[in-house]
Symmetry: C2
Subunit: 193 residues, 2 copies
C-alpha cells in the first residue's frame, strides 16, 4: 500500500543517501534520469537539492516546466537505474526511455510528471528558481509538495527493509558499482557528563 508522507518528514526518504530517479514532463515530452547527487535541504518547508548536468535532456524539461518528480528505486530495479542513467533519450529509436524499456508510470498529482511504478518512495517537487546556482553549479533547489512511500518498507517515519531484501534502496558509487542499503541499527544519544 502506498501512503502519503507528512511533508516535514519527507527528508527521511532521502536522508540515507540513496540514488534516485528524476523525471519531468513538458508539452508532451517526458524523460527520466538517475541522480546520485541529491540531498535534503530543509525540513519545513520541505526542500531538496539535485545536481543536473547541462547536457541532460531531462534538465531541459525541468527548466521548462519548473517541476520534477523523484522516485526511489530498489535493488530489483538496478538495471533500470543503469539504463536511464547512462543512455540519453536521443540515442533511442523511440526517443522515449519509458516506452523503450516498458517503464510503467503513474501520473503525479500536484505536478505534471510521471512517477515510476515499482519504486518505494516518491517526491513531487517544484523548482525554487536560483539562476546563479543553476548556471554556475548545475544545482537545483526545489520544494517538496507531496511525498509518498510503500508502507511495506517505510512507515512511522522509518525505513525497515529487513523482510524485503529486493525492496532495499541502493547507493551508487561509479562505473556501475552499487551498494544496497545495509543492516540497520540504533544508537542512543550520549549524556553530556
Amino acid at each position: 500500500m502506498i501512503k502519503h508522507i507528512e511533508l516535514s518528514k519527507a527528508y527521511r526518504l532521502l536522508n540515507h543517501g540513496p540514488v534516485v530517479l528524476l523525471s519531468a514532463a513538458h508539452e508532451g515530452k517526458r524523460d527520466i534520469m538517475a541522480v546520485a547527487w541529491n540531498m535534503p535541504l530543509n525540513f519545513n518547508p520541505a526542500q531538496l537539492l539535485v545536481v543536473l548536468d547541462k547536457t541532460s535532456s531531462t534538465r531541459k524539461l525541468v527548466e521548462a516546466s519548473g517541476t520534477f518528480a523523484i522516485s526511489l528505486p530498489t535493488r530489483s530495479q538496478v538495471d533500470v537505474i543503469m539504463n536511464v542513467g547512462s543512455i540519453s533519450a536521443s540515442q533511442l529509436p523511440s526517443q522515449d526511455k519509458f516506452s523503450h524499456w516498458n517503464l510503467s508510470v503513474t501520473p503525479a498529482t500536484h505536478i505534471n510528471a510521471p512517477l515510476l511504478d515499482g519504486c518505494v518512495g516518491w517526491l513531487e517537487c517544484k523548482v525554487i528558481p536560483e539562476p546563479h546556482n543553476q548556471e554556475t553549479y548545475d544545482l537545483f533547489i526545489a520544494e517538496v509538495v507531496a511525498a509518498y512511500a510503500d508502507e511495506r518498507v517505510f512507515s512511522n517515519g522509518r525505513w525497515h527493509f529487513d523482510d524485503h531484501d529486493q525492496l532495499r534502496t541502493v547507493h551508487y558509487t561509479a562505473g556501475g558499482a552499487f551498494f544496497a542499503t545495509g543492516e540497520s541499527f540504533n544508537v542512543e544519544k550520549a549524556a553530556t557528563s
Copy 2:
C-alpha cells in the same frame, strides 16, 4: 595505510551518501559535528556541498576560517557520530568535544583543521563564498583541496568493505537510526537497441 586520492576521484568518497563528520578550527578553538546532508557537486574542480545550521558552533569556525575537514566515520564509530552530532560543545564542561570524548586527531595538511583518526576517508575543503546560499539555505559550497582514504577499504577508486565489516561507512536517517553501507554489486550498461 592511508593513501592520497586523486582530486578528480574525491567525489567517490561521498557518492554513496554516507553521514560524515565535519571539523573546523580557528584561533585556538576547534569543533566537530555530524553532517548527513552532504554531497558531491563537481568532479573537476572537486567540489562538494554541506548544510550547516545557523545554531552550529562548528559553522562559526567554518565561516571564520573559510575551511573545514570532512572525516568519514565507520560502523565502529557510531557512538562518536551520535555524540558529536547531538551535543553542542557549549554543553560540555571542557567546551571541547575532542577532549571530552578523547577523540584522537591528526592535523590536516592544506588547511587548519583536525582530521578524526580511525575514520576511513578524509577531505580537506576550502569554502567558495556564496553568501546568498549560506544565509538563505544554510548551504555551503567548498572546493576539495586534498583527499585521503584507508586503502583497506578504498583503493583504485572503489570502496570494498567485504572483509572489513566494522569499517563500513554508515548512513543516517533520524532519531539515532542508522544503516551500514550494505552488499555491493555491479551492473553493466545497457545497449541502446
